[in-house]
């Protein structure tokens, strides 16, 4: 049946619009304002047009941060997606094990992001951290504050530790939604467990996996707090991702003009991605109704 056509429904949406307008539209206008002006002193601003945009677009550090960001997101997805699916497959299907697994998996998701950074900062330190000390004992020199590679390994490990459970939870929910008869039919057809996975479980999980993939892409693209606490963007700038760089420009250096321009470009990139996100989601939604 079709939805009821009634424009009075707008009244129900107004509260949301007021709140989101307050926390999204007004700030966004301010940002646009900054990006087009040079604020010399409070109350004294000069219209500079696209000046800041040109400056930001030619900033090689921003380019570096962008590529770093893409590399980071790609690596994270490559590890988290298969690992998450594997965990979901290994999870128990009945009994107390379900509750235990779900609670354990959800735990890292509810730890404040800076605490995540703290946990790992402690964990990988060569002097007091279990991980750092153990690796060094094996004869591998490891120090995430000095070596870029070690810093990357640490950040990725942390990210995987933090967010793989989300993929696993989504995949698990997807698996649970597969009716038992599919497994029965596969058994009767003599399918091996690999074939059952490839021809039944994977296609049936497509919807949730798409969502997991996109969510993980978005959130890893916006990452800030955890690497900030862990490495502060270093050593050098080797773990300075987009958000960290933006905060550096806008908050620490108070360069409001370039900060504003950077913000908008960053937001546009994310918007573009979220548009693709929305399109894909729509298509997945339709595909599942068949």
């Amino acid at each position: 049946m079709n939805k009821w056509g009634d424009n009075k429904a707008w009244f129900l949406v107004i509260p949301v619009l007021v709140f989101v307008a307050f926390s999204a539209i007004i700030p966004l206008m301010t940002v646009i304002n900054y990006s087009l002006q040079d604020i010399l002193a409070p109350g004294k601003a000069l219209f500079v047009g696209t000046e800041w945009y040109k400056k930001v677009l030619h900033d090689y550090r921003l380019h570096d941060a962008l590529w770093r960001q893409f590399l980071f997101s790609a690596l994270v997805l490559l590890i988290e997606m298969p690992l998450g699916i594997l965990i979901a497959l290994a999870m128990p299907k009945k009994g107390w094990g379900i509750s235990f697994s779900l609670v354990t998996l959800a735990l890292p998701l509810l730890i404040p992001w800076n605490t995540i950074g703290t946990i790992w900062m402690i964990f990988v330190r060569p002097d007091i951290g279990l991980f750092g000390a153990a690796i060094n004992n094996l004869g591998v020199a490891f120090d995430h504050t000095r070596r870029p590679l070690d810093a990357w390994v640490t950040v990725i490990l942390m990210e995987v530790w933090h967010w793989t459970p989300l993929v696993a939870l989504l995949a698990y929910a997807g698996l649970r939604a597969i009716p038992e008869v599919y497994y029965q039919a596969a058994k009767i057809d003599g399918a091996s467990s690999w074939k059952t996975f490839y021809y039944i479980q994977l296609p049936k999980m497509r919807g949730v996996l798409t969502i997991a993939l996109l969510l993980r892409f978005m959130d890893s693209f916006l990452i800030y707090a955890e690497p900030f606490v862990l490495t502060g963007g270093g050593p050098g700038n080797t773990t300075t991702f987009l958000s960290i760089y933006l905060v550096k420009i806008a908050v620490l250096q108070m360069d409001l003009g370039p900060g504003g321009a950077f913000s908008l470009i960053y937001f546009l990139i994310v918007l573009l991605l979220s548009f693709i996100f929305y399109q894909v989601l729509q298509r997945v939604g339709k595909g599942e109704k068949v």
Binding site: L86, A90, L102, W120, V208
Partner: protein, 267 residues
């Protein structure tokens, strides 16, 4: 045999998952001197001194209280405004419905860093700086769209004939909504509250920027302390452990509904 392999794999994974947390707990039970002295796998001389300090020093424990206050306010606001909106999106067709729904979702995708300076200025201007409500409002940026998104999913699962029957019976929309409809989507409201709590609880950037002392959340207290006290690892670890507790409690209460929330795929 296959089942056994799975269990072993899962046990190893869960072991690795707990290890960093365990290590932090381990350190929270030791003094700083002890930590810096020798590396031991478990606290040989466990002490609760760090915990005592946090529970008795108001600059520490008020951080927890502040966090809980603004998270609660945010969750309440998000649910209150999202419920009618989600109902509108799930039931009605109106001018601009799809566009607004999409625009709401884009806010969930916005990089927090973009909004830092404007928020700072906005809340300074209207005198809300360093208040709980400021952080709660800021978190609405991503939590309200999220709540609308999840609730809409649950509401669409309720047949519209129930609404119609109620209107035929003479219920007004608000009365129907409160007495009949909300009880029907109880689980959805619970799941939504859980996610609002979660995202507000774990957020750092806004909470730190919009507060100075009065509403400073525990996460911000921790970051400051790193530089202030030099490196009291034991205290830092203890503060970290204590930030995990509320989250763990919440999970425990919603554990049976969690899978359902995830099944909708709307996180």
């Amino acid at each position: 045999m296959k089942g056994k392999k799975k269990t072993i794999f899962l046990a190893i994974y869960f072991g690795l998952l707990f290890l960093p947390i365990y290590w932090m707990i381990n350190m929270s039970l030791r003094t700083n001197a002890d930590i810096l002295g020798t590396l031991t796998l478990y606290p040989e001389d466990p002490t609760f001194r760090n915990y005592v300090k946090i529970f008795t020093d108001s600059s520490w424990y008020s951080g927890y209280i502040n966090s809980i206050i603004y998270v609660t306010i945010n969750t309440l606001i998000s649910l209150t405004v999202a419920l009618p909106a989600a109902y509108a999106f799930s039931r009605y067709q109106f001018v601009g419905d799809k566009q607004i729904f999409f625009w709401l979702l884009t806010n969930r995708m916005a990089p927090s860093a973009v909004f830092l300076i404007p928020f700072f200025q906005l809340y300074s201007t209207i005198g809300l700086m360093d208040t709980h409500i400021a952080v709660a409002l800021a978190h609405c940026l991503f939590n309200v769209p999220l709540a609308v998104w999840i609730l809409e999913g649950f509401m669409s699962g309720i047949p519209r004939e129930i609404d119609e029957t109620a209107f035929i019976d003479g219920y007004s929309l608000p009365r129907f909504f409160i007495t009949i409809f909300i009880p029907l989507i109880r689980a959805g409201v619970g799941v939504t509250a859980f996610f609002c709590f979660m995202f507000s609880w774990v957020e750092l950037l806004f909470a730190r920027t919009l507060t100075v002392t009065n509403a400073k959340p525990i996460s911000a207290v921790m970051t400051r302390t790193i530089s202030a006290t030099g490196l009291d690892w034991g205290l830092l670890a203890t503060a970290g452990v204590l930030t995990i507790v509320p989250g763990a409690l919440v999970i425990w209460f919603v554990r049976n509904h969690m899978a359902k929330g995830f099944a909708l795929g709307r996180v």
